[in-house]
């Protein structure tokens, strides 16, 4: 078999015999894992859900003699069956990694110097509590920041921040899905899901579900792409895996997708080819859209995107023919440039024009227990509650001014804007920030301009990092608290309803190695020391779960056993006759809620200011004149530089988290930069050369990977590499960190991190 494969030359080959030697002396100093602390014991199977990425797929873990030995999908979840991705299947490689942290540590050297003293949890908590008290006495509770990637850990840390009295809580959202969160709010008043399985046409803007994997969605899209009945069209500057599975691929110029969408809208409105009845009944602002897209012709977009005018004409017509069984996919984080908000809004509005809401093969709202119970006029699925629901978000001014008039007016107080942290710390405006407590986050890899973030961190009096590994951020900490991984902890119930209600629950697979504590245990220990613990209404995870389930022991037992529970409720789409009929057949009491035409369309509620789908948003227009309706916007992201560097996900790694995990590092340990042969020739560089990528933000080294699979004006790296922490012994020093080249400027309206940016190439 030939071994001339070009896309992943960096995928190591079968015949390679090198074995990575473990290093023990540093590991001991770091309080990392020794093999003898793993207990022997039982052989069993535990159903839970994954946290190797944020997709949180349901998994089943086999335990043999007390050790996790195999991870597969949780068959109780139909969308998963026994499937899992490479990262999910590597969970135990992280769990038993001898470079993992398992003992709390306090910094003894200079900040960032990597000198530590291993301490007990008690000692670490005393130290943190004392520092926090001092900082709070002097500067107030708001001087402490809290952050985490979203998920149950985030919920716990947000609750703690609120009890503690700080308004400054940050999720990862501003670096990732913030644009569609906000664009959905403004358009439909809430988020929608995609029915890939029944779509006849899918227009995809770089939503690379075949490398940014979420198993059940990936599976659906893979089958759709392979089906004769579905047409898949992909726009992406790079020949990604999803592009390779498409019926048509257009290497759009980075950052310009907006122009293509606006031209589709132009064609539909010009020819009257849109769902007029739907638009009439459910929306406001179509006349504004007609006005804003009157010149956005296919010809106009051609000079911007590089995609031929005929293609835009034809695609517009094909989608209209397939409507309403069509999806114009807003992607996950196709973050391009400053036009990201308008692009996402334009995509959402394009869907509106196709009338695909609550239609098979279109878009739909999640059907949670509460909504189906209401429709059925009976309790068909249990509703869960939040035991921390009484704890309210602090309404004081945040350091990023989220929700206040200005750039971040639409940013939720829950999520914040990570890119605003460095300036706030360095300028001490609006007030001094002295401490940062974080879990499951590594801003020195995942947030733009990490150089500046690091400078800001140097100014803090207290940094507490809870992580599995000695990340770059942990390296900057005063206290490092090892994280009990998702396989070592019980958690509450999570709502994962799709077309029917469903829940999942995280169940502990093995006891925490070396008794590492979970973030909720850590926070409660701190709450006790700070006299804040009486604010909680629960004591243990079991308590928490019981309150969530409102004492429903049957539900809890099932979740403990199966990890995932659905209730036999038929899939429901409010505007799809056969789905509605099925539902009413099973629950005849639902009949009283039917519309005159036998549908549940009256159940559609849009939580927008007008109560309708807002093609034009007055609120947005008021705050950001010119942005109220999808319209032309500056799509230039190169800003005078010869190339645009873009980044994306690989199926083998997650953001800044997994690069050091043995199984995954073995498959991919580096991220050479993709360069088109024409570009390589022009720059006089060849495969394997070391180069620098440079712009006004930073300069970062990269190894050249010459490939046809990218536009000549574009460069690409997989994200999460270029690791500086020397304690990540496998990942350290390999590859490129794109964050070092990214600007802290944010996309207007949605405050998103901009991840496509101009660079030049210089030789090393």
């Amino acid at each position: 078999m030939s071994s001339t494969y070009s896309r992943r030359d960096f995928l190591k080959t079968t015949s390679c015999t090198a074995i990575i030697a473990g290093s023990s002396c540093m590991a001991a100093k770091l309080g990392s894992l020794d093999n003898n602390i793993i207990n022997g014991g039982v052989t069993k199977s535990v159903n839970t859900y994954c946290e190797m990425c944020s997709s949180r797929c349901q998994i089943e873990c086999k335990v043999v003699d007390g050790k996790v030995s195999f991870i597969e999908g949780n068959k109780h979840s139909k969308g998963m069956s026994t499937s899992v991705c490479a990262r999910g299947a590597s969970g135990h490689s992280q769990l038993y990694d001898n470079q993992r942290l398992v003992k709390p540590m306090i910094r003894v050297g200079k900040r960032g110097e990597d000198k530590w003293m291993v301490v007990s949890y008690e000692k670490a908590y005393d130290f943190i509590a004392e520092k926090l008290k001092k900082i709070t006495d002097e500067y107030g509770a708001k001087a402490t920041l809290f952050s985490s990637k979203t998920g149950e850990n985030f919920n716990h840390i947000a609750t703690f921040a609120n009890i503690f009295g700080s308004p400054n809580i940050f999720s990862h959202v501003s670096t990732c899905p913030i644009t569609y969160d906000i664009a959905f709010e403004h358009t439909y008043g809430g988020k929608l899901k995609r029915d890939f399985s029944n779509a006849k046409y899918i227009l995809n803007f770089g939503h690379n579900l075949f490398e940014g994997i979420a198993v059940s969605k990936t599976k659906k899209l893979a089958h759709a792409a392979n089906s004769e009945k579905t047409k898949l069209v992909v726009l992406d500057p790079r020949f990604s895996v999803v592009a390779s599975k498409a019926d048509e691929w257009y290497p759009v110029k980075p950052g310009t997708d907006l122009a293509f969408v606006l031209s589709l809208i132009h064609v539909w409105l010009r020819d009257g080819k849109y769902d007029k009845e739907f638009v009439e009944k459910y929306t406001i602002g179509i006349e504004k859209l007609i006005e804003s897209t009157k010149d956005t012709t296919p010809k106009w977009q051609e000079q911007i995107t590089g995609i031929k005018a005929e293609v835009a004409e034809r695609v517009a017509n094909e989608i209209y023919k397939a409507a309403p069984n069509c999806i114009i996919d807003w992607g996950h984080k196709t973050t391009t440039g400053a036009s990201e908000y308008q692009k996402t809004r334009a995509i959402l509005v394009a869907n509106v024009l196709m009338g695909n809401l609550e239609k098979a093969g279109g878009l739909f709202f999640g059907k949670k227990a509460k909504s189906v119970n209401k429709i059925a006029n009976m309790d068909i699925a249990p509703v869960i509650t939040n035991p921390d629901g009484h704890i309210k978000y602090i309404q004081e001014e945040r350091i990023d001014h989220a929700t206040q008039k200005g750039a971040n007016v639409f940013v939720s107080r829950k999520m914040g804007v990570l890119m605003d942290i460095p300036d706030a710390i360095l300028s001490q405006k609006p007030y001094p920030v002295k401490a940062w407590i974080m879990t499951r986050t590594n801003p020195l890899i995942t947030v733009a301009n990490s150089q500046k973030m690091k400078k800001a961190m140097e100014k803090l009096d207290l940094i507490v990092v809870n992580d599995v590994y000695m990340s770059e951020t942990a390296m900057m900490a005063d206290v490092v608290l090892p994280e009990a991984t998702y396989l070592e902890r019980d958690e509450g119930i999570a709502d994962v309803s799709s077309m029917a209600p469903a829940y999942m629950m995280r169940n502990k697979v093995v006891d925490p190695i070396n008794k590492t504590q979970t973030i909720s245990e850590i926070l409660r220990a701190l709450a006790k020391r700070l006299d804040l613990d009486s604010n909680y209404k629960w004591q243990t995870v079991t308590n928490f779960r019981v309150q969530q389930a409102k004492g429903n022991s049957e539900l809890l037992e099932k979740l403990a056993k199966d990890g995932y529970v659905s209730f036999g409720v038929p899939s429901l789409l409010y505007r799809e006759k056969s789905y509605v009929d099925n539902f009413v057949k099973k629950y005849p009491s639902a009949a009283s809620n039917l519309d005159s035409d036998g549908l549940f369309a009256n159940m559609l509620k849009f939580k927008t200011p007008s109560g309708k789908i807002e093609i034009f948003s007055e609120e947005v227009e008021e705050n950001f004149p010119g942005y109220g309706v999808p319209a032309k916007h500056d799509t230039d992201v190169a800003k005078g530089y010869p190339y645009i560097i873009t980044s994306g996900k690989t199926a083998l790694h997650t953001n800044g988290h997994t690069q050091n995990i043995p199984f995954l590092n073995m498959l991919m340990s580096d991220n050479p930069v993709w360069v088109n042969p024409l570009t390589a020739k022009k720059e006089n560089i060849k495969n394997g050369d070391l180069i620098y990528l440079e712009n006004n933000i930073g300069k970062e080294k990269a190894t050249v990977f010459v490939t046809e699979a990218i536009r000549p004006d574009t460069l690409f790296v997989y994200m999460g590499f270029g690791r500086e922490s020397e304690e990540l012994k496998r990942a350290n020093g390999k590859g490129t960190s794109q964050s070092k080249l990214l600007s802290l400027d944010k996309g207007p309206v949605c405050s998103t991190m901009i991840t496509n940016i101009g660079v030049k190439i210089t030789k090393a």
Binding site: M1, C16, E72, S83, A89, K219, A222, H223, N226
Partner: protein, 189 residues
């Protein structure tokens, strides 16, 4: 009736994600940096006329087995169901099989010191009625496995509805691993 095992890798469904490779490592304790199985991703063409092929690289379970033929001790053998295995008690690490295999599927396992390769998870899973580890986890159902004599099986259905291609068919080794070749992208045949 004797089982007639077949594995089909549908290159159209495969996304090259390597979940199969990790599951194989996990199930079969494959030593670090060695692989019984990889899916190699190959991009061909000139921008923007491209195609990307996903090729499974593992033992293909020959019916006519060069590796068994050359083995001097009988360590490499075929089970009654026709699946090629290595008996660790008999293997003397002579590497004849490694050289003989036209699919570059074998290697010496530095831990056991035996010749090693994909076994279709015969002793640990298939003989117990389970699917091989790679087939179990594949996120896109690109891998299908089973007894093709069983007309109700997935593999029978898949074989019936697809055009199957056998790797290096011209060698006459009659593999039990078949491919559904990629239909997407620009063709350079």
């Amino acid at each position: 009736m004797k089982k007639k095992y077949r594995m089909i890798h549908d290159e159209n469904l495969c996304i090259g994600c390597q979940a199969c490779s990790v599951a194989c490592r996990s199930e079969n304790k494959v030593p670090d940096d060695l692989f019984r199985l990889q899916v190699r991703v190959k991009t061909e063409g000139v921008f923007p006329d491209l195609r990307m092929d996903m090729k499974r690289h593992s033992c293909v379970m020959c019916e006519d087995t060069p590796c068994v033929t050359v083995c001097p001790t009988g360590a490499s053998f075929k089970t009654e169901d026709g699946l090629v295995q290595v008996d660790p008690k008999l293997c003397v690490s002579c590497k004849y099989c490694i050289v003989a295999c036209p699919y570059e599927a074998r290697f010496i396992n530095p831990v056991t010191k035996n010749a090693d390769k994909c076994t279709f998870c015969y002793s640990n899973r298939v003989s117990k009625g389970q699917d091989p580890a790679c087939v179990t986890v594949c996120p896109t159902d690109a891998l299908v496995f089973g007894d093709i004599n069983d007309t109700t099986s997935e593999v029978y259905k898949k074989a019936k509805e697809s055009t199957l291609v056998y790797p290096k068919a011209h060698l006459g080794t009659k593999p039990k691993l078949a491919f559904v070749p990629n239909k997407k992208g620009v063709s350079y045949e």
